[in-house]
């Protein structure tokens, strides 16, 4: 019995060693952060949400972009819980700062950088990612190529700052050197105890790609400053297909 536990422990240690060699942060710091993702944690390498890495979000239209920014802000809220400042770099920003409060972020702890040329987003993000004093860096832009994303990843590996790269309406979905690729789509909210009106926001969170993890699809509801896992039938896809046919 003791031999088995010893072997398990050894395997666990080896696995952590490999992960840390690959650039994942497996230190105590990341263990303590609970992103409230529940069952989804199993999909991540080592069962921990990878901080100190670049996460890519990609949204094809305006409504998905709002949903992705919403989900991203929830993750950001957890990263900033200990206090700290986050940098939000964007070209053509639409974010309304007071709304961040609904997602668990103090809006005055976010510094917005609004650049005039799209290329500058990457420069600012790289500079920011090298700065260990920041909690996280978010960048919103349209297109980024593989080489540029690799520079960001290298910056992150040194400073252990978490970066979010949000691609809005990208021209093509090329591969990037990011640890994870997410796709967030809004889901119809369910009526609140049969009351009329709009319910709590719901998202379909699709982990399209995760290095050393298992991709999958999850559904979450943001309620009372917490993420709740919800089950919704696949009626969504049927509906969207119908819609496309109708107005194509």
């Amino acid at each position: 019995m003791e031999a088995i536990t010893g072997k398990n422990e050894m395997i666990r240690q080896l696995r952590e060693k490999i992960l840390s060699m690959e650039g994942f942060n497996v230190g105590d710091d990341s263990r303590r952060l609970d992103f409230g993702l529940g069952a989804m944690n199993a999909a991540f390498p080592g069962g921990i949400f990878p901080v100190g890495a670049i996460h890519e979000f990609s949204s094809p239209d305006e409504t998905c972009a709002a949903a992705a920014n919403g989900f991203l802000s929830v993750l950001l809220g957890t990263l900033m819980k200990k206090g700290g400042i986050c940098l939000w770099v964007s070209f053509n920003r639409k974010l309304f700062p007071p709304a961040l409060k609904f997602l668990g972020i103090e809006p005055h702890r976010v510094i917005f950088i609004d650049v005039r040329r799209p290329k500058e987003v990457l420069w600012v993000m790289e500079q920011a990612l090298k700065n260990k004093a920041l909690s996280a860096v978010v960048a919103e832009l349209r297109d980024v190529n593989f080489a540029e994303s690799r520079r960001l990843q290298l910056a992150v590996e040194d400073s252990k700052v978490t970066g979010f790269l949000h691609r809005r309406q990208p021209r093509m979905e090329n591969a990037l050197a990011c640890v994870a690729r997410w796709k967030i789509t809004p889901l119809p909210s369910s009526a609140n105890d049969g009351l009329p009106g709009v319910g709590f926001p719901r998202w379909q969170v699709e982990l399209v790609k995760i290095r050393n993890g298992r991709p999958g699809i999850w559904q979450f509801e943001w309620k009372n400053e917490k993420l709740y896992s919800v089950q919704q039938s696949t009626a969504l896809s049927a509906k969207s297909v119908k819609k496309q046919r109708k107005y194509a």
Binding site: K82, G83, K94, P98, I111, F112, K132, L187, P201, L236
Partner: protein, 497 residues
């Protein structure tokens, strides 16, 4: 030691300043005006125009009627004030205590200074001739008291009033020389007092009863029985370092080394004095007589040589060395105090404020300072006004961020008009058309009526609806105006998460 004061009166400060800028105006008729009660009134008149009988206080239109070719310029009181302060700083070569007498005089405390110039007469003559050479028409006088020196400089024609002789010097001057208010002056005029000497022979009690305490006070100041304090001008310290080169520098590496050395010298001084740089200019004087320069700004005062070097480094390529640069200077044009212990603005484990401020400086240097934004809540319901921008890292919100009413995560900077189908007035729309696509609304919340803040702006109110379509996308729509008076318009203003 008995006090001695020198008063310098710049009779035509504003016109002289203008002539120095536009030399072709010299000896020409021109005036400077300021708006007053909806009229343009002459504030200062050139000597040539004054000879023609035009005085300050006349309406510009009247002057134009008399002299159609008169040139008029807007008065710049701030620039004149600055000029006077600069002149005061120039006077530090004659005495350490210089005060400004607004709006056109300087008071110098010359006690114990004049003998260095070989007596009071050479002293005052040196000052007057140097100022006149500089293009200013000045008159000056030395006396035991500020009041007497001022009165003699402006209304008398002596250069020096002997010690304890101020009552003799004042006797023949008009009462206006005493810095009195208009009401007292008018009363004195009515009573027939044309000279200060007439006042001196009247018992003080009578003067006080008839003309008030102020007259006695001013008289006392001029005669030396009342004390008068000076508010000396504080010299602004110059943070400037120079680095001459043995050989002209032509390479970028050489410029970098020069910059590093200058920063080292300047930062050492900053550390001694507890200061930091907010803006700085790095200049190179080229062999061909041209100067080239780059400047930087920081978000908070910094005396970190490495950080400042990084800010300059981004711009070194802009320096054109041409034949070579033979002298480098580095000047901190705006200097602020640096608090020794950086106060904790946000409790941040393992991170510091300075690192972030330096990062922001870097970013501002590359993409422009207007790119950096930080927001605080503002107590307004109108969504566009609910946040205010702040430029510092330290400022904290005075009010809470509100979460009682829904606000969208994405907002359109300009609400976009949409076509809607509404079943009943005051109901949310059934569907709306946005970018050529019809969006069916499944459920909705609202309306939340937001009225215009009448003290800022008038117009129809907005009725906001939070609506959700069949895919779960949530929108923020509003109707501008009420039903009834005219057809209300609908707009899309944002996207919820």
């Amino acid at each position: 030691m008995p006090k001695r004061y020198l008063y310098i009166w710049f009779g035509y400060l504003a016109p002289d300043r203008l002539v120095k800028i536009n030399p072709e105006l010299r000896n020409g008729p021109f005036l400077l005006y300021a708006a007053e009660h909806g009229r343009m009134v002459a504030r200062a008149v050139s000597p040539a125009l004054e000879e023609e009988g035009i005085t300050r206080g006349m309406v510009v239109a009247d002057v134009r009627a008399i002299f159609p070719d008169v040139k008029v310029f807007a008065a710049e009181p701030a620039a004149e004030e600055k000029l006077l302060k600069d002149l005061a700083e120039w006077c530090f070569r004659f005495t350490p205590t210089v005060a400004v007498d607004p709006t056109d005089g300087l008071i110098l405390d010359i006690s114990g200074c004049a003998h260095l110039w070989g007596g009071e007469l050479p002293y005052v003559r040196t000052i007057i001739s140097r100022l006149r050479k500089g293009g200013y028409s000045v008159r000056a006088a030395i006396a035991d008291t500020i009041g007497a020196a001022r009165a003699v400089a402006r209304y008398g024609n002596e250069l020096i009033v002997e010690a304890q002789k101020q009552s003799d010097a004042l006797a023949l001057l008009p009462p206006v020389a005493l810095r009195l208010d208009d009401v007292t002056l008018q009363r004195l005029n009515k009573l027939g007092f044309r000279q200060i000497g007439q006042l001196l022979s009247i018992p003080r009690a009578n003067l006080r009863r008839r003309l008030g305490e102020m007259l006695l006070y001013r008289l006392g100041q001029a005669l030396g029985t009342e004390r008068e304090l000076l508010k000396p001008v504080q010299p602004t310290p110059v943070y400037l370092e120079r680095l001459p080169c043995l050989e002209p520098i032509r390479t970028a590496k050489g410029i970098e080394i020069a910059l590093e050395r200058l920063l080292e010298m300047l930062c050492a001084r900053f550390f001694r004095e507890g200061k930091g740089m907010r803006t700085g200019v790095f200049k190179g004087y080229r062999l061909d007589g041209e100067t080239v320069q780059i400047s930087i700004g920081t978000n908070r005062a910094s005396r970190n040589a490495a950080h400042l070097f990084r800010l300059f480094e981004l711009k070194i390529v802009e320096l054109e060395p041409a034949l070579g640069i033979e002298l480098f200077t580095l000047e901190a044009t705006l200097v602020e105090d640096v608090s020794e212990a950086q106060e904790a603005l946000w409790s941040m484990p393992g991170s510091n404020q300075t690192a972030i401020a330096e990062l922001l400086d870097n970013i501002a240097g590359k993409v422009g300072a207007q790119a950096v934004h930080r927001y605080l809540p503002q107590e307004h319901y109108w969504p566009e006004r609910s946040v205010k921008e702040v430029s510092t890292l330290g400022e904290q919100p005075e009010t809470e961020w509100r979460t009682d009413k829904p606000r969208p995560l994405h907002i359109l900077s300009r609400p976009e008009p949409v076509e809607v189908m509404v079943a009943l007035p005051d109901y949310p729309p059934k569907h709306f058309r946005y970018k050529g696509e019809i969006i069916n609304i499944v459920c909705a919340d609202g309306p939340e009526r937001i009225e215009q803040e009448w003290w800022l702006q008038s117009g129809p109110p907005r009725d906001y609806y939070q609506v959700e379509d069949e895919n779960g996308a949530r929108y923020w729509l509003f109707r501008l105006g009420l039903y009834g008076d005219r057809k209300p318009e609908w707009f899309l203003h944002g996207f919820f998460v």
